[in-house]
């Protein structure tokens, strides 16, 4: 199925139904009648999107959708290709399937994610893969690759996912992290890994390490080679050859928590 935005909403549109699991089961006429929320008013999907039959099972969505929230929410299988920028809460509570965005995403990408993959070729906003305020645990599975930059609180309290950022990160990356992996290639903001219990934050740029982390050693983690190879084969993120054979400084922390997390910072 193919959806093309024809009318820009005046206020944010909540479109939880735009997901392969819902749309692929329906005929185009039925899809047009799906309900979405334009602000606090219920509307038909056809009020904003032109619906046509696609050539494959991939759900294609096109347009400048920076005001459209919850695309791919609750997705459990299938594939969704989005051409254009998207609004907040993309892939909320996703548990399976694949979302590819040729564009940028706003804040709160994939809150409560438990599985699946999201690949954003542009930039991401704040609180990507973060726990909602008050929640003790954030995302628990899956993978998010962002080729561009992201803002603050990437992976707040994440527990088991893999995040890759090709560009810069804001402050508090991996704050209160429980487990999982964050790999970043660009400059980092302050307080990276603050309060982390376990998990790995791998930085290709130098970072200001918090005093509650203790230095271990310099070595070459083989796991990073596997991760680099996977990224090289699946994204357009450029990985300098020197990173493949380079050494990393390892710091353990955060001592104010379990002290079982690690910061791996590229050394040379």
């Amino acid at each position: 199925m193919k959806l093309k935005l024809h009318t820009q909403p005046d206020v944010p549109l909540e479109a939880e139904c735009i997901t392969p699991g819902v749309i692929n089961k329906l005929k185009p006429k039925e899809v047009e009648k799906l309900k979405i929320y334009h602000g606090n008013r219920e509307s038909d999907l056809a009020d904003f999107f032109k619906v046509s039959k696609g050539k494959s099972d991939i759900l294609e969505v096109e347009g400048d959708m920076h005001k459209i929230k919850y695309l791919g929410a609750n997705m459990s299988s299938g594939e969704m290709q989005i051409e254009g920028d998207v609004g907040a809460h993309l892939g909320s509570a996703i548990s399976g399937g694949f979302i590819k965005i040729n564009g940028s995403a706003a804040d709160w990408v994939a809150p409560e994610m438990t599985g699946g993959r999201i690949h954003i070729t542009g930039n991401g906003g704040h609180c990507i893969a973060s726990a909602y305020r008050g929640a003790s645990k954030g995302v628990t599975g899956g993978e998010i690759i962002i080729e561009g930059n992201v803002k603050n609180e990437l992976g707040h309290a994440m527990a088991g996912s893999t995040m890759v950022v090709g560009g810069k990160c804001g402050d508090f990356t991996g704050v209160n992290m429980i487990s999982g992996t964050i790999l970043t290639f660009g400059e980092m903001g302050i307080r990276t890994g603050a309060g982390m219990k376990r998990g790995s934050i791998i930085c290709m740029n130098n970072i200001e390490v918090l005093p509650t982390f203790s230095y271990d050693c310099m070595y070459t983690p083989i796991y990073i080679k596997l991760l680099f190879k996977y990224i090289k084969e699946n994204t357009k993120i450029t990985i300098d050859e020197k990173f493949f054979s380079g050494s990393f400084h390892r710091w353990s922390g955060d001592a104010i928590e379990m002290n079982r997390g690690e910061l791996l910072v590229y050394a040379a």
Partner: protein, 294 residues
């Protein structure tokens, strides 16, 4: 039937079902990768006395390995899936994890798997770290030079063990030359191993023995020294030496291919006859007819 001047006996090699795993070992350089590969495949010639059969399948370039370092692929065979997991844990734990700079991955991407890394991780004494890339989980176990990384699950598959052919020559030298040439070309075939020393067996066995506790004994009909005292000798008059080449493979096609190239390479001057070992269907379900391979 003949290849060159060598007679090919109209018979078949009888092979049996085994379970195999392919293990990829990588290391900082070829020296250490080979060290681990040789250690892991040591004393693994026959399930009869070694609990498994193992050998180096291929040397791998950095482009062919999961972590971009030089490596080796190893095939390990046992009679059942359960014992395969045990042997992998023992051998990877003792021979690969102990070797400087190594890492270990599954070479098969099969649905059926056995848990290897998930068992060896406990060596990390609580300091091990689990990592997932897509649907594959790896364990990082702290060791003296950094970390030993191992995949949690190793793919396993039902495979073929005991493919074979016998080379019967007029003397030891000619027969060994033929074996050498045969094994050399067979090693180029992917997904097979020749588990015996340099790929050759001189003590070919038959099922059973006159001694009731023995499951296997010398295949006496191919022993030239007793040709005169037994009635059922299979050694022709002008033959004074016999050797066997045993092939285990991940599938029938690979075993066939290896036998085919091996027989053609072995059929040279001084090799009187090429035949194969079979036990009338008592041993296994696979039959490799030599006439189909020439």
């Amino acid at each position: 039937m003949k290849i060159n001047n060598t007679q090919i006996v109209d018979t078949y090699a009888e092979a049996f079902s085994m379970w195999s795993a392919k293990v990829i070992i990588t290391a900082e350089n070829d020296y250490w990768a080979e060290g681990a590969a040789r250690a892991m495949t040591g004393m693994a010639t026959s399930v009869i006395g070694c609990k498994c059969e193992a050998g180096i399948d291929m040397k791998l370039s950095p482009e062919e390995t999961p972590d971009g370092r030089p490596g080796y692929s190893i095939l390990l065979f046992t009679m059942d899936q359960k014992s395969l997991a045990k042997r992998l844990i023992e051998r990877i734990g003792q021979c690969v994890m102990t070797c400087p700079t190594t890492a270990c991955f599954s070479g098969y991407d099969t649905e059926e798997t056995v848990n290897v890394g998930g068992a060896l991780r406990y060596f990390g004494d609580g300091y091990q770290i689990g990592k997932k890339i897509q649907d594959k989980r790896y364990w990082r176990i702290p060791v003296f030079d950094g970390e030993f990384i191992i995949q949690e699950n190793f793919g396993v598959k039902e495979s073929v063990g005991g493919g074979n052919f016998y080379i019967l020559g007029d003397n030891v030298k000619n027969c060994l030359d033929a074996c050498y040439d045969a094994v050399k070309v067979m090693k180029r075939v992917a997904n097979v191993i020749m588990p015996f020393p340099k790929g050759v067996v001189r003590s070919g066995s038959k099922v059973g023995s006159k001694y009731k506790d023995l499951v296997a004994s010398t295949n006496h009909i191919y022993c030239p020294t007793i040709k005169g005292v037994i009635k059922d000798s299979a050694v022709p008059d002008n033959v004074h030496t016999c050797y066997e080449i045993v092939v285990d493979g991940s599938d029938e096609k690979s075993v066939s291919e290896a036998m085919k190239v091996g027989m053609h390479a072995a059929a040279k001057d001084g090799v009187i006859q090429i035949t194969a070992g079979n036990f009338g269907g008592k041993l296994g379900k696979y039959k490799f007819f030599l006439k189909d391979l020439i």
